[in-house]
Symmetry: C2
Subunit: 139 residues, 2 copies
């Protein structure tokens, strides 16, 4: 329970986008799908090239960039910090704090299998607390 | 340790913005200050009117809104779900899950004293885990 794997809290499958998509297209995908990040992949090979998040779009807006012209390749974050599905949620939290990021693509055997976010981890806190209280009662 | 109060993990003081600020101004504040939300207040009274987040800006971009013209009053979220500083981080996590939000302004005695986010709560998970492991060893 306490060291549960990332695979059990991640969102899967993960949504992807090509390097050629515009900032406004990405914003539209975020709103339509209720998400805050897309993994950038090569449509031909499936290779992960980067990640684009809400913060990347906000940065374009702050700079006065034309959001209908700017493409993902010019503002995505790369390389991407990733985690494997068998690592623990505590490890995911540590990686997020160390790198000041809120989302980690999950990669198993070089295959993109999901994404885990601060939101996914936060929703786990009440369960972690109940475990701790139950163990105290039993002890 | 397990039921620590929101006040000990929140960011304080919280940054505010007026209803008249534009979407591009808000985006600029997010980037300059490394934050993802601003609490909307009445500059004259300090009264909390709403909250504006990265997702609100993204929604404007997706709609093709003129970000240099759209003002906070037209796209902020209101009313705001809040928490008090003495409530627990587990309660904060529950509120975030229930309302599908990532940030909670912290209000004590009707005064805005801080803001707590999924990022703040995520950074607490490794500590929660260490507490649980330590108690198991002691039991």
């Amino acid at each position: 329970m306490i060291d549960i794997p990332v695979s059990s809290v991640m969102t899967s499958p993960v949504q992807t986008v090509s390097e050629e998509a515009t900032a406004s297209t990405v914003a539209g995908r975020f709103v339509a799908d209720g998400i805050g990040a897309l993994v950038v992949t090569d449509p031909a090979t499936g290779e992960m090239l980067g990640i684009v998040t809400e913060s990347d779009i906000i940065r374009q807006v702050a700079r006065g960039t034309d959001v209908d012209a700017a493409t993902v390749s010019t503002f995505m974050s790369a390389p991407v910090t990733t985690i494997t599905g068998t690592e623990t949620i505590a490890r995911a939290a540590e990686l997020m704090e160390t790198h000041s990021i809120r989302r980690l693509p999950v990669v198993d055997d070089r295959e993109l299998v999901g994404i885990v976010t601060t939101t996914d981890l936060t929703h786990y806190i009440p369960r972690l607390r109940r475990t701790l209280l139950r163990e105290r009662t039993a002890a």
